[in-house]
Symmetry: C2
Subunit: 348 residues, 2 copies
């Protein structure tokens, strides 16, 4: 696909100028949509992630409703970890029957062979790609090793992940082993998604921001660097989102990524100064802003676009996943206003 | 009390030189101590906060064990809110039977008269002060209005406080009313603690860091500014801790506070550059570091002191409350090493 026909979102991820600021919404295929809830009323979460047709269907739902610039594969960050032989239940977050805490536990994590262990993921990528208009990008994704590690060691969702964070301190060697094994698995997993048709690959580090600067640099960052290096030959843009990672951005800037995701807490302008001109940015409207009056919402959308500035390389998004209580009409307003305001701004 | 006889921690809060870096630990009177668990085995949390003798006892427990430079009153940030007539249960976090969501709910919040509504708090301050050695400071505290508001509106603890954050967006006027009322109550509450013997006053904004920059500046900061202005005449140092507030530090710097608390996520040196020379800093070791081997712990303690630099005005603390699973012996090592290392550093 030459540059002329790239979906705008892929061009923006490469730092190229685009006619409008492209936009998608984290968790856009989710519970705020009645059509998603209708699917979930008949299907549990785990079955939904494992059934290609259903996962493709919910991936496409928000695309049918809104003028979004990208679809993101409906799946879960723990899906490939199940493929590595870990038993996981969702209640509603991931619960691991037997947390990983010893060398023997680590040895039992098997290498991931995506077409053998999670074939339904690539099948849903192919189905979505076949139905998606050419100007809409398709984003594949995986969890960052440290974030997967948090669930594997803690065994369940947690506000602070104290069990995992104290394990990092008490068992630095075992920690490095698990993270390296997870990095290898995420390389083949993301590569398989790209080969099936994903045009960008996003690495979600939901819990990287729980680490102090030294622990992040020494523990969480090396496996991300390994993943990025292992995917670079594919030529698809790579997005790394370290949630709550504002104090870590100078370390994030050392990664050979195309895009840094930003949560809603800080200023995109400040982030750009730290990240430099080679890394595009994705974000960062507060999900709470969708509860403001429509006019206020529009002014907040405009403020994010203004904050990102005139340089190319901004992908509009929320700074965190959309909340289930959100009115879908507000999402429509958001998407349309991103397009309208950014076109107006470009012509000003 | 003249400068000669000030406890080192109070001197450091005023930016004065001290023979060593003073240290205390957030939640130092807490579940990691077997003697605290022994008290709790016989007394529920609410009774403990409401019984002066017991609250004084657990406040003093860590002081008997470790060479800490300060005691912090054992209480709960919701205690004065109960005093304002709100029914609160602890399960284990605060649960509000009737969340505050309408103008009528707000009207029912009564003005706080500390000696009438929460006399046991001042009584425990007096009892602790009577038993505390002169070189050990006593810190009183309250929750910041936005943090109290999060519990009042959500009705229960939450990871994201989406209910409260969407309320801020949907009902900005009601939000401002509640926050202003809470600010007035916290002024008289903190002043009463100071009059009873607290030598420093700390405002905990546990959830301020959930706000984006604009919402923080427009919504959460004005009531904090009001509290600080209302206490300034007392002449006791005021500490403001906005947990997860690294992107908000330039706004925090506009407060007329003596000390800014810092969580473990960032560098004290960076914070000092933003806060300027007039605001002392408190923090910021990762609570997870207490799970490292003793030698590693010591090197992390030293790194925090090095990061704070040679200028006066650093109070050592964790960057967040100590975890219940922590080995008390590690706390002893931490406290002693803060003293030893900082004395060595001063004489180098």
């Amino acid at each position: 696909m030459d540059a002329q026909t790239l979906p705008p979102i892929i061009a923006a991820m490469r730092g190229q100028p685009t006619p409008h600021t492209p936009v998608w919404v984290m968790r856009q295929a989710g519970r705020y949509l009645p059509e998603y809830r209708a699917v979930r009323a008949k299907t549990d979460f785990l079955t939904l992630t494992r059934t290609a047709e259903l996962a493709a269907e919910v991936t496409l739902q928000p695309i049918r409703r809104f003028a979004l610039d990208a679809a993101i594969l409906f799946s879960d960050i723990m899906t490939p970890v199940e493929g590595m032989g870990v038993e996981i239940a969702f209640n509603p977050g991931p619960v691991i029957a037997k947390p990983i805490r010893t060398a023997a536990d680590i040895a039992q994590l098997r290498d991931l062979v995506p077409e053998r262990d999670v074939p339904f993921v690539m099948e849903s990528v192919r189905q979505v790609r076949a139905e998606l208009p050419k100007h809409v990008g398709l984003i594949g994704f995986a969890g960052a090793p440290f974030t997967l590690f948090c669930y594997l060691v803690s065994g369940k969702p947690s506000k602070e992940f104290g069990t995992a964070r104290s394990f990092v301190q008490a068992e630095p060697q075992l920690t490095a082993q698990v993270l390296d094994k997870l990095a290898d698995a995420m390389i083949v997993y993301l590569a398989a998604q790209a080969q099936a048709g994903a045009q960008a690959l996003m690495i979600f580090d939901s819990w990287g921001g729980l680490l102090g600067r030294d622990a992040f640099r020494e523990i969480a960052l090396p496996p991300v660097r390994k993943i990025v290096a292992g995917l670079k030959h594919l030529g698809v843009p790579i997005v790394y989102f370290c949630n709550n990672g504002w104090t870590l951005l100078d370390h994030v800037a050392t990664l050979d990524i195309d895009v840094a995701g930003l949560d809603w807490r800080g200023s995109i302008k400040t982030a750009r100064q730290i990240l430099g001109p080679k890394i595009a940015v994705q974000g960062n409207l507060d999900p709470a802003a969708l509860f403001a009056a429509p006019d206020v919402l529009k002014s907040r959308v405009a403020a994010v676009i203004d904050d990102a500035g005139p340089a190319p390389g901004h992908i509009f998004n929320l700074g965190h996943g959309i909340w289930p209580e959100t009115d879908p009409d507000q999402v429509g307003r958001l998407v349309d206003h991103v397009h309208e305001y950014s076109i107006k701004r470009r012509s000003a």
